[in-house]
């Protein structure tokens, strides 16, 4: 049934029920997880 081969390009354009941007604050960092490109994508920022 599944003859689909995944590639990086295939992910772009898939839309799912999006989670809101998830932000987690620690003492030193801000973690942001987005699902804009259908897969989770985390960025880490050091607090000033």
């Amino acid at each position: 049934m599944f003859d689909y081969v995944m590639s990086k390009e295939n992910f772009v354009g898939h839309l799912f029920k999006k989670a809101d941007l998830v932000t987690i604050n620690s003492n030193q960092y801000i973690y942001k997880v987005s699902y804009d490109r259908s897969l989770p994508h985390m960025t880490v920022e050091k607090k000033q």
Partner: protein, 313 residues
């Protein structure tokens, strides 16, 4: 019988050094009767000593797909290869060679190898300390944290993409994660960074914060009469990154939990205190904490009241 599939896709970039060269192996099974609007998704998350190729997990992927109408998903998450049993270790050859001859009066040949010494020691009741050789680096290590959770979430989303591309409708309100020990911890970490994703989390013996971030993991392995005590000193202990945030009591503080969380924890768990765990869940809505005591051990559902409940399927 359920059908098994494998995918290999580009993985999430490494949040510690920015590199973008990893791939992720994903395994999933679909029910023999195919996918329908009632089919849910189950993410299985092994802890230390288990992996996607363990017989028990292969069996679970296959059985659960058919028995419970689920797409059962697993992946080889970041650093999981360092969480298995011993592969290669170092030990103090000269020390044990000297002890061997001093205590037993047997002299090994000067050119005796480490293998030969261990072979001799295995004839005696003794303990030999060793250190596992872990080829970890910032590129790939057992981070016990966000990278592992991101890989697990990627696996779920990738399988959803496959279903979508095959125009298959499934039950989006039946997305389950089951984790064992550290795997259960990761299921809770996934739920925290994807708060709208899971409808049910089954926690079997999660810890609140990975103990091996701060202390070595010890494995005891019998060779003949000898016991090897093998220490795993993880790179995560030495590498400077944000570990405070990996405490679930910090992460779940003021978190508006949406998933139903059902937790099982053994009363005799000596790795993770059940009272701390029970306390942790008190402040989180939609949770159910089940303490498993000796009286509940029926060798059907529960096989012990210790860490991991000796879960088997």
């Amino acid at each position: 019988m359920a059908k098994s599939h494998e995918l290999n896709i580009p993985a999430h970039y490494n949040i510690y050094n920015g590199s973008n060269s990893r791939n992720l192996n994903i395994y999933f099974s679909e029910p023999e009767n195919g996918v329908n609007s009632e089919t849910g998704i189950l993410l299985l998350i092994p802890g230390f000593g288990g992996n996607s190729q363990s017989n028990v997990y292969k069996k679970m992927r296959s059985l659960f797909a058919d028995q419970h109408n689920l797409i059962v998903v697993q992946c080889d998450y970041f650093g999981s290869e360092f969480m298995q049993s011993t592969n290669r270790f170092n030990f103090d050859f000269e020390k044990y060679k000297a002890l061997f001859s001093a205590n037993l009066g047997i002299k090994l040949k000067n050119d005796a190898s480490a293998e030969k010494l261990l072979e001799e020691l295995a004839k005696y009741e003794c303990v030999v300390n060793a250190t596992e050789i872990l080829d970890e680096s910032v590129d790939n290590f057992n981070d016990m944290g966000f990278m592992q959770a991101l890989d697990l979430l990627t696996a779920v989303y990738a399988v959803k993409a496959v279903l979508s591309d095959n125009q298959l409708v499934y039950n989006e309100n039946k997305i389950i994660a089951y984790g064992h020990s550290h795997g259960a911890y990761l299921s809770l970490l996934c739920n925290r960074i994807a708060p709208n994703e899971f409808t049910l989390i089954i926690d079997n013996s999660a810890w609140i914060k990975p103990v091996y971030l701060e202390s070595a993991r010890c494995l005891w392995q019998k060779y003949g009469k000898m016991t090897m005590q093998i220490e795993f000193d993880y790179f995560a202990q030495r590498y400077h990154y944000d570990k405070e945030i990996l405490d679930l009591s910090v992460l779940y503080k003021n978190f508006d939990n949406q998933a139903k969380i059902t937790a099982f924890h053994g009363i005799d768990d000596n790795l993770v205190s059940y009272s701390l765990k029970r306390e942790f869940y008190k402040g989180i809505k939609n949770t159910e904490f089940n303490l498993v005591d000796e009286g509940m051990v029926d060798n059907k559902l529960f096989f012990s009241s210790s860490h991991g409940l000796n879960a088997d399927f």
